[in-house]
Symmetry: C2
Subunit: 241 residues, 2 copies
DNA sequence: ATTTTTAAGATCGTGTACAATCTGATCTCA
DNA sequence: TGAGATCAGATTGTACACGATCTTAAAAAT
């Protein structure tokens, strides 16, 4: 009996599951969450020793986690310089939304065809939480929940490969929003999500696809992606705050 | 100052080849290439010490490279067990082609709108090399070149984010082909590529999009993705669905 | 005073050693 | 003989130390 008998509750084991997967994954997930909630500003330097100290792990773990994030383009690793929270260029920002425009509308249609009442309940809960966060003024949490809505949709569509891509794009979108957000008139977003939700609930795939397409265009148009003059955006300047 | 006299010796060639990326990237690229050429069979165990010995690097580098490949789902890392060349399930195989169907046709259209004579020349060279490899009976090289055709197309479309996704999907497609290929009547592929090339050369985006869509469907239909594959690859896979 | 040089400090890249874990085989007992 | 326990070998997970490289800033020379 070297091992505990059986496997206990699945939901309660979530934390243990991550710890078991690997500490590096746990650190990477924590950092990703922080990016989703806009708690890590683009350009911030992520010192390996410092991060390791915070999470109580060695530098090896931190390095592994940072490499994961670098692969998702959430951080950029400059050789012999260190890791920094990524600062997506305007071009990259456009590319991210271009990719989302290719993936998400069709995925929303698929989701509409397979959605279950349970899924609807989950999404409604997400929506409610997002509203609550906005009313509370917790913009970070609102951005995170808004992104999770899209990720959950991809998961419902039962296409884990595409869902993985979308998750990456959502994370990068959080950085894009942090950099190029125009005005806090984002409230339309939650309404867009609600309209989507009703279409999904009725199994109306075509409408869901169109709504998602429009939603992404709205999001894109709410950004300020004009070319910055002379681009004085060096890392040194970015680190000045 | 005298950098050349420092420590060139045996690593000079590799340093010149991948001067920018680290050694880990070089190892990862080499392994990826081997997968593309069907030189690494799915399910093969990649012993860290062994790989390190082959490439003349330490286990740290190998570990980093394997983590990169694991992120691309080219290898699966089982905790305390090691790394194995991935064996995509039938479901994963379908998902890969589903994702390609979403990304590549529209990307082909974009490529047609931006393609330059230089790009056409490059693609023609690729095509010729693919034909030559097939005539020579070098199927591994043919598969690799066929994949690179698609990747190059995405690059021409000037959407590096989407190109990155497609590159991942192509790599996984190589594994899928290795596992589920039906018959060596793949010659249609090269003709499909040639038809695409002419459409691209004429800037006919709509035709290119349609051709790509059909090409991907042909590819998918040339696989044997029946739910009951007579070949449960390994006992481990059979026991761990 | 400005520019170049130089040195110090800090950070990252890599190899190596040790601990944890798994696999496979041997041994014991019914 | 067969099932279960135990142990040796091997492999991965992690921490740590040393060397390489970059940044920073002071100091010296023009």
């Amino acid at each position: 009996m070297t091992k505990e008998a059986g496997k206990p509750a699945r939901e309660a084991d979530k934390a243990a599951d991550k710890a078991k997967g690997s500490k590096a994954r746990a650190v990477a997930d924590a950092l990703t969450l922080a990016v989703h909630e806009h708690r890590l500003a683009p350009g911030l330097k992520l010192n390996e020793d410092e991060v390791g100290e915070i999470f109580g792990v060695g530098r090896t773990i931190v390095r592994s986690a940072l490499q994961m994030l670098a692969h998702d383009q959430l951080v950029t690793i400059e050789p012999n310089r260190g890791a920094f929270v990524a600062e997506p260029s305007i071009r990259e920002a456009r590319e991210v939304f271009e990719a989302r425009a290719l993936l998400e509308p069709r995925t929303a249609r698929s989701a509409a065809e397979r959605i279950t009442p349970q899924d609807v309940a989950t999404l409604r809960a997400h929506n409610a939480a997002e509203h609550a966060a906005l009313d509370r003024g917790d913009f970070g949490m609102a951005v995170r929940l808004s992104g999770e809505f899209h990720i959950e949709l991809a998961r419902i569509a039962d296409q884990s490969t595409i869902a993985e891509f979308i998750a990456q794009l959502i994370a990068r979108s959080s950085l894009v929003v942090a950099l190029y957000w125009r005005r806090p008139k984002a409230m339309c977003e939650t309404h867009a999500h609600e309209a989507l939700l009703t279409a999904l609930e009725q199994g109306d795939g075509a409408t869901a696809e169109e709504l998602m397409k429009g939603h992404l265009l709205d999001l894109l148009s709410s950004l300020d992606l004009r070319e910055t003059p002379a681009a004085p955006r060096t890392l040194r300047d970015a680190l000045r705050p």
